[in-house]
Each structure stands twice: as structure tokens, then as C-alpha cells.
């Protein structure tokens, strides 16, 4: 039996971005169709926003994720950091995922 493993691809996950605690941090909020809201604190290098959020504000953004597996309608991804109440691994709808063309 041959087995191949491939390194996971990176992609961008749509989210809301707010300030974190430390200046290098950002808060990300991922809202899933089942009503769950996943909050995580990540390094600012892991998020893409058109402008930095102000104190108390959320802006639309993208967080860089690793894609482990894709199915017809969903993808299993790793956030750069665990969520506050869950681990980093999430199954998300495919419509929340974009290709990451920005990293080398």
C-alpha cells in the first residue's frame, strides 16, 4: 500500500478583525452557519485587512489558514492559533475560503 502525504495548502478565511491585547496581535472572529462564533488571537502577520481596526471596532478581513482537507462544500482548516474555547482546527463552508495568492 502506497501512502503519500502532502503538506497542507494555505488559504484565506473570511473573518472580522479587531485589535488584540498586544500591539502585534489581532482578534479574529469567524462566524459559522451553525451559529458558532469562533474567536482567536493571532499575530497581525496572519491577517489581511484594508485598514487597521480602531479600538472597539471590527473590520472585514481575512486570516491565513492551513487547509488540511476539502470536501464538496466544506474545508477542514487550521487557524494560526487556537480559538478561545476550541482548538485551531475547524470545518468551515467553502464559501468562506479564498485562495492565498499573496504568500511566496
Amino acid at each position: 500500500m502506497k501512502k503519500k502525504t502532502s503538506e497542507s495548502a494555505t488559504a484565506l478565511l473570511k473573518c472580522k478583525v479587531s485589535q488584540g491585547m498586544f500591539s502585534h496581535e489581532r482578534g479574529v472572529l469567524v462566524e459559522l452557519p451553525d451559529g458558532r462564533r469562533i474567536s482567536a488571537l493571532v499575530d497581525k502577520s496572519s491577517v489581511l485587512v484594508s485598514r487597521d481596526p480602531r479600538t472597539g471596532e471590527e473590520v472585514d478581513g481575512r486570516v491565513k489558514v492551513s487547509v488540511l482537507e476539502t470536501k464538496k462544500d466544506s474545508a477542514l482548516i487550521d487557524l494560526p492559533q487556537p480559538g478561545l474555547a476550541e482548538g485551531p482546527r475547524l470545518r468551515v463552508p467553502k464559501e468562506l475560503i479564498e485562495k492565498n495568492n499573496r504568500d511566496s
Binding site: 497542507s8 485589535q19 488540511l68
Partner: protein, 194 residues
């Protein structure tokens, strides 16, 4: 397998991992790397402090629910910077819990097959300082500065000087395989030998 100082240096030289700023030679021990305290420390407001900020006549118990927390509002209202001394240092009082960061920014790409563990330093531990409460693992794929959960179990206030104090050590470990990613087999779905 734990990486030795020479292996850590080699891994950096080959750009398999990234540490910025690059460690000085004094930061290395035989099988670990000391990291330096960063310039931000935060504390969470006490219930008494919060109660003082409430209008008269308002009383509430505070329960934090990690499942439903609004991060941006929570951090804005309940976290505050620890005051800095004129020389830029911080004073950590006995019995106080704060959140700090390392000066160093770290990247452990998955393809490097390297993870790490944050540990305290025994010399600081003797003074009562712990720098992580749980979750010492820096997983493969991590990018960022390391946040430290610091508590002073000792009897005396401790002066913590950013940019100078070696606050923790990082132990690097090699993974057996690159993590994540689908497993493909030529016999997927097979129900019999043929």
C-alpha cells in the same frame, strides 16, 4: 528528539525556522534558547476596579464565558497595561498575574517539522516567577511572538526589564512527519484484497 544548540543554529541558518531578532550567542544553552522579555505587559482589572467604574447603584457579579466572549470588548474593558517605571521596567507584585510577550518573533513553518516548548528559567523560578501556567507547546505552523502567563508566587516584588531579561527558554523538538494535509493511498476505498 530535542535539538541541540548547534542544531538550533543550523536550523536558523538554513531558514527552516525564523526568529527575529536573531538570537545572540549568549541566548543559547546546550539544548534550549533563552528568549528576552518584550515591551508590553497587561493585567486584567480586578472585580473591585470594575465595580468602581460602574455607576452608583449598579452591582454585578462577573462571570467570563469563553464560549461566548466578545473579544474586542472584553480586552478593551477588562485588560489594562501594567504601568512602566521611568526606566522602562515593570514591577510584578507578589500574588499578581499578568500577560507578557517575548521580544522575539518566531515562525515554525510546518514543512520544517519543528515544534517547541516554552519553559521557565530556574533562576527566576527560585524568586517565585512562573512564566506559563499551562499550554507550553508552540505548535508547528506557529507564527508570532509568544505570550507568557506570568505570576509572582514569591514574597517580593520583581523588576522585569524588557529587552534585557531572559524571561523564558524555548526547547525545540523534531516532528516525525510534516503535520496536516490529506493522506492519499492508492488503495483508498478497498474492500477486499483484490
Amino acid at each position: 528528539m530535542i535539538l541541540s544548540d548547534r542544531e538550533i543554529r543550523e536550523t536558523l541558518r538554513q531558514k527552516k525556522i525564523l526568529i527575529d531578532p536573531l538570537p545572540t550567542e549568549e541566548q543559547y544553552t546546550t539544548s534550549a534558547l533563552d528568549l528576552i522579555l518584550g515591551d508590553e505587559i497587561f493585567e486584567l482589572k480586578t472585580p473591585e476596579e470594575l465595580a468602581r467604574e460602574e455607576p452608583r447603584g449598579v452591582e454585578r457579579p462577573i462571570v467570563v464565558d469563553p464560549l461566548h466572549i466578545d473579544l474586542k470588548d472584553f480586552l478593551r474593558r477588562y485588560a489594562k497595561p501594567l504601568p512602566q517605571e521611568p526606566d522602562g521596567s515593570f514591577i510584578l507584585q507578589p500574588g499578581k498575574f499578568v500577560l507578557g510577550i517575548t521580544r522575539e518573533y518566531l515562525e515554525l513553518p510546518r514543512r520544517s517539522k519543528i515544534a517547541a516548548r516554552v519553559e521557565g528559567r530556574s533562576t527566576l523560578a527560585r524568586l517565585g516567577l512562573v512564566v506559563h501556567l499551562t499550554a507550553p507547546t508552540i505548535h508547528a505552523g506557529f507564527p508570532g511572538r509568544i505570550v507568557l502567563e506570568m505570576y509572582n508566587f514569591g514574597n517580593y516584588p520583581l523588576r522585569l526589564t524588557p529587552g534585557k531579561l531572559a524571561i523564558c527558554q524555548l526547547i525545540f523538538e523534531r516532528l516525525g512527519r510534516i503535520p496536516g494535509g490529506p493522506v492519499r493511498t492508492t488503495h483508498a476505498g478497498q474492500r477486499s484484497v483484490r
